[in-house]
C-alpha cells in the first residue's frame, strides 16, 4: 500500500495525535505525517477535512477524512485487523470502550487544570487528577496492560496523555509515582514498546510547550 494512501494531519505535542500514530505503528501501517501549525495558521486541507472542529488529528485514508482520535483509532482497528487492539467478546469490548470514554472525558482536562491554576484551586486540581489516576490504577489491577496480557486500545488512548505528566508534576510539585506506583510501572512497561517509544516525545519538550502556552495565555 502506498504511503500516500494514509496521511495524518498532526501536531507532535498533541496526545490525541500520538494515539493515532501509536495505533498505526502497532498495525505496521506506513503513513505520511503532515505537521500543522496550530497557532500560525491551519492548512486548507485541515479546514476542509475537519470543518466541524478544525482540529488535529485528522487521518486521511485514500483521501477520505476521519476525525476525533478515539474514533480514528477505532477505524484503524477495524480496517487493519492484525494485531487486534480490542477483545473479540462484546462485553469486554464494551468495558474497553467505557474506559476509553472515561479517559477522554477526564484525564487530559484534569491535568490541564493543574498548570492553569494556582494556590487553592491548584490543590483541588491536583487532588482531582490523582483521583482519576487512582481509578485507572484500580482498573489496571495486577494486569500488565489494560488489555490484559496484550497492549490494546485503552493502553493506546491513555499512554499518549502520560507524555504530559512531567509538565503536570513540575507545575503541581508532586510525583505521580508517589500516588499510583502500579500505574507508573505500567507507563514504563508501555514505553519499552518500540511503537510507543518511537511516537512519544521527550516529556521535557512537552514541559517547554506548556511554559510557552502559559506565556501565550498571559499566565505566569
Amino acid at each position: 500500500m502506498a504511503t500516500e494512501d494514509v496521511v495524518l494531519l498532526d501536531c507532535w505535542a498533541s496526545p490525541y495525535c500520538m494515539r493515532v500514530k501509536i495505533a498505526l505503528e502497532e498495525k505496521g501501517i506506513k503513513y505520511e505525517e503532515r505537521a500543522e501549525d496550530l497557532f500560525g495558521g491551519k492548512s486548507e486541507l485541515l479546514l476542509t477535512s475537519n470543518p466541524v472542529y478544525a482540529k488535529v488529528p485528522v487521518l486521511l485514508h485514500k483521501g477520505k477524512p476521519l476525525c476525533e482520535s478515539s474514533i480514528i483509532v477505532g477505524y484503524i482497528e477495524e480496517t487493519w485487523a492484525s494485531p487486534p487492539l480490542l477483545p473479540s467478546c462484546p462485553y469486554a469490548r464494551s468495558q474497553a470502550k467505557f474506559w476509553v470514554d472515561y479517559v477522554d472525558k477526564k484525564l487530559f482536562d484534569a491535568g490541564g487544570n493543574i498548570w492553569r491554576t494556582k494556590g487553592e484551586a491548584q490543590e483541588v486540581a491536583i487532588k482531582d487528577f490523582i483521583e482519576v489516576l487512582k481509578q485507572l490504577e484500580k482498573v489496571l489491577g495486577d494486569k500488565d496492560f489494560f488489555g490484559g496480557d496484550s497492549f490494546g486500545f485503552v493502553d493506546i488512548i491513555t499512554i499518549a496523555i502520560t507524555s504530559w505528566f512531567l509538565a503536570f508534576e513540575k507545575f503541581g510539585n508532586f510525583k505521580v509515582e508517589d500516588h499510583t506506583p502500579k500505574l507508573s510501572a505500567w507507563i514504563n512497561r508501555c514505553m519499552q514498546r518500540k511503537t510507543v517509544a518511537k511516537v512519544i516525545p521527550d516529556p521535557e519538550k512537552i514541559y517547554e510547550v506548556v511554559i510557552n502556552l502559559k506565556k501565550m495565555m498571559g499566565m505566569e
Binding site: L66, E68, I71, Y75, T79, Y91, R93, S94
Partner: protein, 223 residues
C-alpha cells in the same frame, strides 16, 4: 440459559430512550427499572452498577453492567447481531466511523444547547436557541435527501438523535419558535422514525416532558 436483561433508566431521559429503542429493534425482552431522578434518589443497584458516573442508563445483562448510552447501543447491536443490524456491516469501517463521529457530535453539543433553552432567560435563551438550530442544521445537512442518516435503513445515528424529538415540543414552547420552520427535512425524518414501533413505544410523551420541564423551571425560578 435465557438472557436476563435489566435496564436502569428514567422515563424522560433521551439517553435511556436510546437503549429502549435498540432493545425494541432487536426484539429483546427486558425488565425496565425506573430510577427516581426527579427526587434525586439513586437506587443501591444503580450506585453499585455504575459507581464511576452514577448515571442512567445502565444495561445489566446477566448481572454484568454496561454504561454510557452509545456504548450500550453498540453492545446491544453486537450481542443480538442476527436481527436488525444498527451499525453498517463489518466491511464498511468508514461508514461506521462516520456514524460514530456524528453521534459523538450530538453528545458533545446538542444536550447542552437544548438544556439552556429552557433553563435560562432573555439573551442567554436567545443565544441557546441560535446554537441549537445551528447544530440541528448541521445534522440536517448530514441527512441530505436520504430517508435515514445511513441511507435506506434505520440505524445507529438515527437512534442517537431521534430520542431528542420528544423534547422538541418543550424547547419550542419555552423558546417560542418552530423547529419545523427551521429544519423541515429533519422533522420529516423524525416523523418517519416515529412510524417505527420501536421508536414510538420508546419515546416519552412530549406533553409529559413539557410538564416536567415546567416543574423544573419553577424549581429553578426560571419561566
Amino acid at each position: 440459559m435465557a438472557d436476563e436483561v435489566v435496564l436502569l433508566d428514567y422515563w424522560a431521559s433521551m439517553f435511556g430512550m436510546r437503549a429502549r429503542v435498540a432493545l425494541a429493534e432487536k426484539g429483546v425482552k427486558y425488565e425496565y427499572r425506573e430510577e427516581d431522578l426527579r427526587n434525586k434518589i439513586k437506587s443501591q443497584l444503580l450506585l453499585q452498577m455504575n459507581p464511576v458516573h452514577k448515571k442512567i442508563p445502565v444495561l445489566i445483562h446477566n448481572g454484568k453492567p454496561v454504561c454510557e448510552s452509545l456504548i450500550i447501543v453498540q453492545y446491544i447491536d453486537e450481542v443480538w447481531r442476527d436481527k436488525a443490524p444498527l451499525l453498517p456491516s463489518e466491511s464498511e469501517p468508514y461508514q461506521k466511523a462516520h456514524s460514530r463521529f456524528w453521534a459523538d457530535f450530538i453528545d458533545k453539543k446538542l444536550y447542552d444547547a437544548c438544556s439552556k433553552i429552557w433553563s435560562t432567560k432573555g439573551e442567554e435563551r436567545e443565544a441557546a436557541k441560535k446554537d441549537f438550530i445551528e447544530i440541528l442544521k448541521q445534522l440536517e445537512g448530514q441527512l441530505g435527501d436520504k430517508p435515514y442518516f445511513e441511507g435506506e435503513k434505520f440505524g445507529f445515528l438515527d437512534i442517537a438523535l431521534i430520542t431528542f424529538y420528544c423534547w422538541f415540543h418543550a424547547f419550542e414552547t419555552c423558546g417560542n419558535f418552530s423547529i419545523e420552520a427551521e429544519c423541515p427535512k429533519l422533522i420529516a425524518w423524525a416523523k418517519r422514525c416515529m412510524q417505527r414501533e420501536s421508536v414510538s413505544r420508546s419515546l416519552a410523551d412530549e406533553k409529559k416532558v413539557y410538564e416536567l420541564v415546567l416543574g423544573v423551571q419553577k424549581m429553578l425560578g426560571v419561566e
